[in-house]
Amino acid sequence: MAPKTMFAKIWDEHVIDDFGDGVCLLHIDRHLLHDLNGSRGLLELKRRGIPVHNPELTFATPDHGVSSAPGRVGMNANGTELLESLRRETTDAGIRIFDLNQPGQGIVHVIGPELGLSLPGALIACGDSHTCTHGGIGALAFGIGTSEMGHVLATQSLVQRRPKTMRVTFNGKPAPHVLPKDLILHLIGQIGAAGGTGYAIEYAGEAIRAMGVEGRLTVCNLSIELGAKIGFVAPDQTTFDYVAGRRFAPSGPLWDAALAHWRTLPSDPDAVFDQEVVVDAAAVAPQITWGTSPEQVLGVDGMIPDPAAEPDPSRRSAMQAALDYMGLAAGTAIAGTPIDWVFIGSCTNSRLSDLRDAARAVGGRTVAAGVNAWVVPGSETVRRDAEREGLDRIFTDAGFQWREAGCSMCLAANGETVPPGQRSVSTSNRNFVGRQGPQARTHLASPTTAVAAALTGRISDIRQLGR
């Protein structure tokens, strides 16, 4: 039999019907809903009188529109309306919801793996582009729009075109202070925000194998910022140890059967990919973005690039527009740029390991005067676990705000914005114009680089700060 990629194995296993042209009807194993658009899909079905096909394979949680303020105070009217409508419609449809202040609530891409709902080899869909995150567990997971959500609710399936395959191999061992976020930001800088468009990306190599599952989730999370709606890592013993014993993970004989199947999933040794990219992980520095696309990124010790040196006119004008929006000067060092806000959170970097890295980097120091620094855990469980370890005290003693679980300032859907013209270092995934609020300026970075900025009030090199 011809060698197969992991992508092909999982895809083929989910084909209900093949329409030709590479277009297939695929079974969706897990469907996740959140407050921003979950009820919209359910209401549309209700309006048409169509029942939900498999409510027991569908799970919901509020994350986008909810307040992250302690005690959830200050919910805005739109967020409240979305929350109430998600509660009402999921209850009507018999869909389980992990509600506020219950274990299980949190950012949908944090809770899926955390609860053992997201499994290796599963096909997972959710109305959010960062659904690719779940690939870190060895699933094929991708974001869908509201119409496609309606299709999944009605049929537990989706019509999709088979993407091409790309393997990105991270060779070598990252230097100290270089985190998974740095590796993936570096890759985006190398191949561009459209470098993965039309591909499903398998991340491989020594640096990925040595990484914990949470780091792999971070890497996969930014696949969509490469243009790839699917990114994944082959499951291995690290994955199995992570999944075992989780709240909704298979157990007993089901676990044994699942494990035997999961071991067959990795790409065959001679499998052929449509494209191969190799990255020397050992050569990557801590990264920070300077522009308004994740591809506009550099080492934190680097110089802001000069549009005049860019031969392509379209790229040149995009660079200039980005510099103007960001209020930065070409040819100067990015380090030393004064900042106003620090946001540690989002589906990219809000898991327990991220918070541990950040707390270690704080190292007993304090947030610089004039800086607003927030830590927003990714889930209710992350919050409780972090508090059990005393991480919350490390942050609050240093002058950070310790908040409730949700998406918060990553996209500011709940009204928690960076004020106009102010500069934020954020562990989130998008530095688009207006992403953290109208006229807000966002620099994407790892949790420890964000801490370095909070402590110094400037974009700073964590390697020079120690810890």
């Binding site: 329409f19 042209d21 986008h64 869908i144 119409s147 537990q156 699942a258 207006g434």
Partner: protein, 207 residues
């Protein structure tokens, strides 16, 4: 779904790369259960309006004859970013029915077909050539029946679109209805699959 057959319109050149979904429609315009019909005025808001809320007279959609154009000529990776279908709704509510670009964000691309907005992929040099002609305000024709874009000069640029999607657009077919018409396939797949992968279907909860 809205059907799409043939469209002739001025085409607004907006050749910047990586125009993301947050740029197409800001998040704070999309939060709520009742947002439809209100998105058009905020479509591409950060490009159409200056921070003080006044129109930027230099932006292409604020200039005659491109105001209200039904066709947009865009750069690479148009619609990258979010899965929020509001990006498609905002373009449609503004009046755009077709975007021509060298590449599109994958999720946005699918969302377009779900709503009857036609995304046409043409090579970058072709999009640039079309933009040069369209700059005068001369009309461009998109013909989905013959899958060809006709430039003002009469030059014809064929494009490809999956057969199934083309049929759905031409007839305005609804994908949910089409799939449900043969729903038996799904249940028989699930019966087979549940024997092979029971852990997917039997979700227990640890106490």
């Amino acid at each position: 779904m809205q059907s799409f057959t043939i469209l002739t319109s001025v085409a607004a050149p907006l050749l910047r790369n990586n125009i993301d979904t947050d740029t197409i429609i800001a998040i704070h315009r999309q939060v709520g259960t009742n947002i439809r019909g209100k998105l058009g005025q905020w479509c591409l808001g950060s490009l159409r309006y200056r921070p003080d809320g006044t129109e930027d007279p230099d932006f292409v959609l604020n200039r005659a004859p491109f105001r209200g154009a039904s066709i947009v000529l865009a750069g690479q990776n148009f619609g990258c970013g979010s899965s929020r279908e509001g990006a498609v709704w905002a373009l449609q509510e503004y009046g755009v029915s077709c975007v021509i670009a060298p590449s599109f964000g994958d999720i946005f691309f699918n969302n377009c077909f779900q709503n009857g907005l036609l995304p046409v992929v043409l090579p970058e040099p072709t999009v640039i050539a079309l933009a040069a002609e369209a700059q005068t305000g001369a009309a461009v024709t998109i013909d989905l029946v013959d899958t060809v874009v006709v430039a003002p000069s009469g030059q014809r640029y064929p494009f490809t679109v999956e057969a199934r999607r083309r049929t759905a657009l031409l007839k305005g077919l609804d994908e949910i209805g089409t799939t449900l018409a043969e729903a038996g396939r799904i249940t028989s797949f699930q019966t087979r699959d549940a024997a092979a992968r029971p852990w997917i279907y039997h979700i227990g909860e640890a106490s």
